[in-house]
Structures are given as structure tokens and as C-alpha cells.
Symmetry: C2
């Protein structure tokens, strides 16, 4: 069903290829060039900071909307806590401070005065929220506290890359408090599952869910769970984390409640988040040499309508295009009618391909005559001629198919790039050449984990849920000691 | 139709009155006590900062949703610019720097290193956005640029009050660039009108729209327009501003475009914003001695359902209450069913009155028997018995009526507290005793404006649009020179 591109389109494609490094040639350059060229983001005149442009921000708005629905449906409420955290608060939890202090931006002056105490621009909000919870929580009747915040975060990163790691980023951070250890663990896992379902359904990115090792967990957490995606260069990306904080912060910030037996207890807490990094994941998972490829569910524009500017198209074609645009908009679809006169249809085709619009709708004088339009899918370039009367239904159907297909393709890629080995030499070779996920047995010792990282740059991404039978009959990949876990290794962002 | 409160409710009300200073006794204390008691916000452990709690944040979410729709419908797109602004950028526009530098929080350390240049935590974003626009705008075809951002802002304020003036607050800031002076002026006025319509329709707060004087305008603007509400203590509150920036920033940041005649020109800009201050405006406009009173359009909870806990209410009443709750939710209404067992219905009544829920729905064993419910309006305490079959339609109708009535009442108050005088002595007396808006003629001189402020604390809130005929035949309130404008004075927040 897939049609070959005509000569005209090919020329345009070549024109485009000249502008952006092909993905196959240099993935990193392709990534940053595409992000700027497609106007997702631009560099700010500050080290490691970016500006999220309207086209990129629109994806974040879609992510926010779709995830916020899920956060609220599971009983959480949004709130807003201060941007600044006094240094003394961060210092209260040593592990937490050590984890974050190399990355903190400090406010030392307010107006004309030097501050007596430095203020951290929040690198995460456990400390300030913990303090507030200690004021709000008195009794078991006040629990659980299920609060989320959408906010900006600052971490003074040395090496940055748009969306993936920037000095400032946007995220949501959930912070909950519970009566029992079990409830906190249940919440932590529930949220991880919410993230998995959200990322797979809406972003069309398949992920591996599991537990982080001691070495990789959040500074101050008892357990960290994570979902990990595999980008199309074979590197893993941590896409969301959910932490069971135990009583670490409640002991430090004295968050106590009177339990059902009138005994004072420390609450059990969780925290969890996803960030604008997800936009980078979309680029790296679905993009190709022609540019971006957005899943319809989060695409800024789902359908671009390009009227073919031949003859008296403004009288004959444009009104029809406008009518179709209105019809689709009425169905809540995100539509852009590109009626600009300064660009040719061919230029527009490759421009909107590059910018990742899932579906193009072409309409020319002959289509108007024949009461039809032509749909062109971004995912597989299939061309579909559709009678005018069926446009709305067909567009809806094709968008659903594209969403599914992108998830399918990414799943296929992940499968093809997931190996299992018990041979450390083979492990090194795969990591060096092909990358991808590598499943291997591990003794559970941090020293071994660190050696493997030193020697291969691969880290343990997760200890997946659902361990196979008889792990203990296997040996650790590196040291040969009795295996404790089957884990996923990868080079990661 | 309004029923007197029964003895039982009165007792509860008295119980409540003990907890919060009555509005009539001390407005300022009433305001801050109510905000904390109703859990809109709490003090953060940082000077001048607050935590917006879920109940308060929900109002901000409603404001965001309803305003964002309008911002997008008028062709604007959202984006996100960096939190930090290098000091050198702020210094480029002298007037702007002087206006903001006393209020800036400065980041001087990142990680372990001292920064070479101080970074301002954004007090507003004209400078950083201007810089980016200079990179993005090349031709008249790139114009207009219509961008908005939802963000947090920091201003190191000396005197603070929750929602009204805090060191950190949330807002939206629009920043646009245009081909001509006329288009920029048109945008500035269009946005002011959007704000007026939004605030009057959704927040039920009548406002006076007009132009600011030279003294009161935004640092760096050519013209500032504003909408001003009258709070129920007779003080004015600036609720939204729209600035025509002229070419001030485009000249400084070199934002130029090739016009239709291939000539390089500086763009014409605007900026505009409303903030979490609007939540404070809702409290101060509609609240009374019993507490908050939210307009249904932005109320966190529109209907609270209180089952009357008599006899075997859990079997007889609760299921009916749950059914009604579901029915209302299906109609997109924000409903809370308060089935808590540890509180009496009477306690719940006054609790939810205090928290400003527009409509209470009571249902007891007898109501279930009679297939009815009782609605109680927060605005006028009217009780309405409604057959079960009509509940959804009636609730919808009553909520619409409450929205209208709150706007009507606030309009009445504004009218009753707006005077006009040509006598400075009388002016002083009214400002001192009754406050409110005072319309008076003014010569247009800043010196006169400043003297009036010194002598009475009243400032010129706006020069309203639609000046009356023959202003020049009148004399300035203070100096007696020929009047140039009829203006609104008030003591303001």
C-alpha cells in the first residue's frame, strides 16, 4: 500500500537533508538540530538552559492534560509550594543534601540585602513539603495526604542537552503521606503503573518497569521504582520515577500523627515525578531521517491540511479546505490549515513531515471535482484517497491506527534490541557496538555494579518485576558469585 | 423567599465566629485568618512566601483553564522561558532595571562555584523574551508573535499579604510583537477587554477599565492599561494590566524585521498579565462574616452534599446521596459528598459555608421518603425544596443565579461606594472614613498626583475610557488649574 515518493518530493527531501544531519549519521547532532529546526526549543542565553517554544510547549500541555486527569482520577489534588528552600532544611536530611548539593543554585541576595541564610532554588521539594506536612497532619483522619505539584526545577548540571538534561526543567512532583508502610508501598507501585500506562498509551513508548538498585536510587528514598524506555540509538532513558521514602523525611521533619490506637507515629511517605524530558523521549523514540514523528495523542497538530495551489485554488480549493478544517475541529481534533502563499505544497509537505504531524490532508482542484481528499500518513507514508463524506470518520480511524503503529514499531525495536547473555565478553561487545537493553544476572553487590559501569559504561536500569524462577542457580555476569537478580543493563542518558 | 436561620445553625455560626475575627471588626485579620482557616493557603517558613493549598490552588486551576481558553481563542500560544535572567540583560533597559532592581532575588552560586554574573530570578520576563524575539523575528511574515507564558515570579517585597503581595506568585504573562504601533495598541486594548470580560463573567467582580498615569505605569511601558476592582473594605485592587511597550524593548534588544517595503524596522511590543492575586480578590469581594463565598464558575466545590445522619442513614440516605452526586458529576459539576461520620450535619453546614461552597444540598430520611432534597444557597441563604426528578436542572439553574447575584451584589457595592466630588476637603473626608472610588478632576500633573497621595494616601487608579464632555471647563481637585481628565482615585492594595 505504501507509495513511493514522486520526484518532486524527493528533491524537497534532499533539500531538507542538507539542513539537518541524518539520524543514522550522527544521532546527537540530529537530535539537537531537529529540536531547533522544528522549533520545539531554542538555546537560552544562559548555560544549560532552553526556551520551550510554542510547538514544543504544546506537547508538554498535552502531556500535562492527559497525565493530570490520571493524577486526579486516582484521588490526588494539586497544590503549590515555594520555589526557595532554606539551606538548613536541605541539611536536615544528610543523604538528601549530599545527593543534591552539587546541583543547587543558591539565592544569596534579596533586593539590596545579603541574606542571612542561603536559599536553594528547589532541586526537588521533599524538604519544604515535609516541613508543611508536619504542620498539617495531626491524626490518622488527616491521612492519606495525596498532593501533586506542577512546577519548575533547577539543577546546576554540567553537561546538558535540550529536554533531556537542562539546568531548569518543568515537571510534576507528587508527595504523599500514609498511615502504614504497606499503604506507602502500594501508592509507590500504583503511581509507577500509572506512569507506565500513560507513557505507553499516550506517548506510544514501551517501557520496562522495575526497581532501582541501591546505587541508583533517589537520595533519601527507601526504594526507587522507575520506567525505562529504549531510545532509537540504543540508549536507555529513565522516563519516570516513584519513590517509597519510608520514614526518612517524616523522622527528620517530625511529621507525626495520632494513630487509631492514640499512639504517635511517623507517617510513611512517597514522592514521584515525570518531567519535560518526556518530550525528548518522543523525539528520540519515534523520529527518523525526515524528522519528528509524533503520536497523535500528544501531537501539537494532528492533521495538517495542505491545499494544492493550482489555478484559481483560492476560490475553488480553499473554501473546501476550510470547511474540512472546521469539521475536524468540531470533533476536537488539532488541525492546522496551511494556506500560506509564499510556500509551495511540496515545501509544506516536507516541512510538516519534519515537524512530525501524524497526518497530512491534501486537497487539490481535481479532488474538489471528485469530492475527495488524499490522506498521507507520517508513520508509513501510505496515501489514502477518501470520499469527502467519510473524511471525519476516516481521519479519526487513521489517527488511531498511527498511534497503535508507533507503539508497535517502538515495541519491535525494543524487542530486537534486548539481548540476554551470561558471558561478560559478549556483554561488552554488544554494549560497545549495538547497545540496547542487556538482560544479565547480577550478584546484588554494588562493587560489582560499579566495576561493570567503569568497564562498559553500562548501568543497571532496573531490577524488573516478575523475576524468573531459579535465579540463584545462575552466576553473576562479572564476578561469578551466586546471582541474586536478573537485571536490565544499558548505556543511559 | 429567604428563610431565617434556625437556632441550631446560629449556634454553629457563633462557634465559627469565635474562631475568625468578623470582617466588620477587622478586615485585615478576617482576611488572613479566613485564608488559613479555609485552607486556601498557609504561611511558608520563608519571609513573605506562602503555600497554596489544594483548596486554594483549585481556584487558580479554574482561573487558568477559563482564561487560557480565551488567550488561545484570540490566537495566542503558550511557551516557556527561563527562570533566570542575566543581570546584564536587565541593565539594558534602564527604566525597567530601576523599576525592578529593588525587588530582585539574585542567584550568585551554582553548585560549588561562584557565578561570574549574577542571575535575577525573573521579576517579569520582558528582557529574556526580548532577547529571544531578536533571534526569531526576521521579516514582517514572522509577525505578529503572540506568546503567553504561565510561570512563577519572584519579587522581594517588604510588606506581604497572602495572594495580594507575596515574594513568589504565579501568573500568566503575554508578550507580543507587531508590525505597527497601531496593531500593538489594538492588542493592548483587546487584552484589557479580555481581562475585563473574564473577571466580570467568571469571578463576578465588576471592574473599572482605563489607562494608568505616567507615575503608575509599568517600568518601561509607553502606556499601561488596567482593570481595578473595589474590595469590600473600600480599597481598590489592580486586577490585571496590559502594557503597550512601544519600541522601548525592541530598540534595546535589537528586535528588527524587514517590512513590506524591505526596510528594517523595530517591532512594536505589548505585555500583559494577571496573577494569583485574583484569588485574593475573590475573598475580599464576596466574603462575609460567615466566611468565603465563591462564584460557581471558579469555586473548587460547586455543590456540597450533606446527608443528614439520623437513624440508619447509611442504608437509607447515603445511597441516594451518592446517586445524586454521580448525576451532578456527569454534568461536569464539581461536587463533594461529605459523608464523614466524625462531624455533625450542623458542623458541616457552617464548615462549608465558611469555605464558600455556593450551594449545599441536604438530604435526610424524610427527604428520601418524600423523593426530594433541600438546596441552600450560600449567597442569600435561601432554602429550596426540590423534587428528586428535577435536581440536576434545578442545581444548574440555581448555580447560574448565584453567579449572577454575586456579580449584581458586587456591582451594587461598587456603585454605592463610588462618589464624585470637586471639593478637596470632602475628598479627604470620604477617603479617610468611607473610602471607595472617588471620581475627581485632575490637571494631569504628576506633582499634583503625588501631593494628593502624600496628603490622603489615595492614588489615581485609572483614567477611565469614555471621558465626559467638557472636562476642561472643570478645575483640578487640588491645584485648581484647568482639568485634563476625570479620574478614579482610591486607597489601594
Amino acid at each position: 500500500m505504501t507509495e513511493k515518493k514522486g520526484g518532486k518530493e524527493l528533491v524537497k527531501e534532499e533539500g531538507f537533508v542538507k539542513q539537518i544531519t541524518p539520524k543514522s549519521e550522527d544521532f546527537s547532532r540530529w537530535y539537537v538540530e531537529l529540536i531547533r529546526r522544528a522549533e520545539l526549543a531554542d538555546y537560552a542565553p544562559l548555560k544549560g538552559m532552553m526556551v520551550i517554544r510554542p510547538y514544543g510547549y504544546s506537547i508538554w500541555e498535552n502531556i500535562q492534560r492527559l497525565l493530570d486527569q490520571r493524577i486526579k482520577a486516582s484521588g490526588h489534588q494539586n497544590a503549590y509550594f515555594p520555589l526557595f528552600i532554606p539551606e538548613s532544611f536541605l541539611k536536615k536530611e544528610t543523604e538528601h543534601l549530599q545527593g543534591f548539593s552539587p546541583e543547587v543554585a543558591w539565592v544569596t541576595q534579596g533586593g539590596q540585602e545579603e541574606l542571612e541564610e542561603r536559599l536553594a532554588v528547589r532541586p526537588t521539594s521533599e524538604a519544604i513539603i515535609g516541613y508543611m506536612y508536619s504542620k498539617w497532619i495531626r491524626s490518622w483522619r488527616d491521612l492519606p495526604v495525596l498532593i501533586n505539584q506542577w512546577a519548575n526545577i533547577v539543577r546546576w548540571e554540567k553537561v546538558t542537552r535540550p529536554f533531556l538534561r537542562t539546568t531548569e526543567f518543568l515537571w510534576q512532583e507528587g508527595h504523599t503521606a500514609h498511615e502504614t508502610r504497606e499503604e506507602a508501598e502500594e501508592e509507590t507501585r500504583l503511581i509507577l503503573e500509572m506512569y507506565r500506562e500513560f507513557v505507553e498509551t499516550e506517548l506510544a513508548i514501551p517501557v520496562i518497569a522495575g526497581r532501582k538498585t541501591e546505587r541508583e536510587k533517589f537520595a533519601g528514598a527507601m526504594e526507587t521504582y522507575s520506567i525505562e524506555g529504549l531510545m532509537s540509538d540504543g540508549r536507555a532513558l529513565q522516563m519516570g520515577t516513584s519513590h517509597n521514602l519510608g520514614q526518612h523525611f517524616s523522622r527528620v521533619f517530625n511529621i507525626r500523627f495520632e494513630d487509631r490506637q492514640q499512639q504517635l507515629q511517623y507517617v510513611w511517605q512517597t514522592s514521584w515525578g515525570v518531567s519535560t524530558r518526556l518530550v525528548g523521549a518522543l523525539v528520540m523514540t519515534h523520529g527518523d531521517d525526515s524528522g519528528l514523528k509524533f503520536p497523535p495523542q500528544v501531537a501539537p497538530i494532528q492533521v495538517v491540511i495542505v491545499p494544492i495551489s493550482l489555478g484559481n485554488w483560492k476560490e475553488k480549493v480553499l473554501p473546501q479546505a476550510q470547511k474540512i478544517s472546521s469539521l475536524l475541529r468540531e470533533q476536537e481534533m488539532r488541525v492546522y490549515l496551511d494556506a500560506r502563499e509564499e510556500f509551495t505544497p511540496g515545501w509544506k509537505f516536507s516541512e510538516w513531515e519534519m515537524r512530525g504531524v501524524p497526518l497530512r490532508l491534501e486537497i487539490g482542484p481535481r479532488d474538489v471535482q471528485n469530492n475527495q481528499v488524499v490522506l498521507v500518513r507520517r508513520d508509513n507514508r501510505e496515501k489514502i484517497t477518501v470520499p469527502l463524506s467519510e473524511v471525519v470518520a476516516k481521519v479519526h480511524q487513521v489517527l488511531t491506527e498511527i498511534q497503535k503503529n508507533l507503539f508497535h514499531l517502538a515495541g519491535q525495536f525494543q524487542q530486537e534490541n534486548t539481548c540476554q547473555t551470561e558471558d561478560y565478553q559478549e556483554f561488552k561487545e554488544i554494549i560497545e557496538t549495538k547497545r540496547g537493553f542487556l538482560k544479565a544476572y547480577w550478584c546484588g553487590q554494588t562493587t560489582c555494579e560499579e566495576k561493570i559501569k567503569e568497564e562498559t559504561q553500562a548501568t543497571i536500569r532496573v531490577i524488573p518485576f516478575g523475576q524468573p524462577e531459579g535465579v540463584a542457580t545462575h552466576k553473576c555476569l562479572r564476578c561469578g558469585a551466586k546471582a541474586q537478580w536478573l537485571v536490565y543493563f544499558a548505556k543511559a542518558y
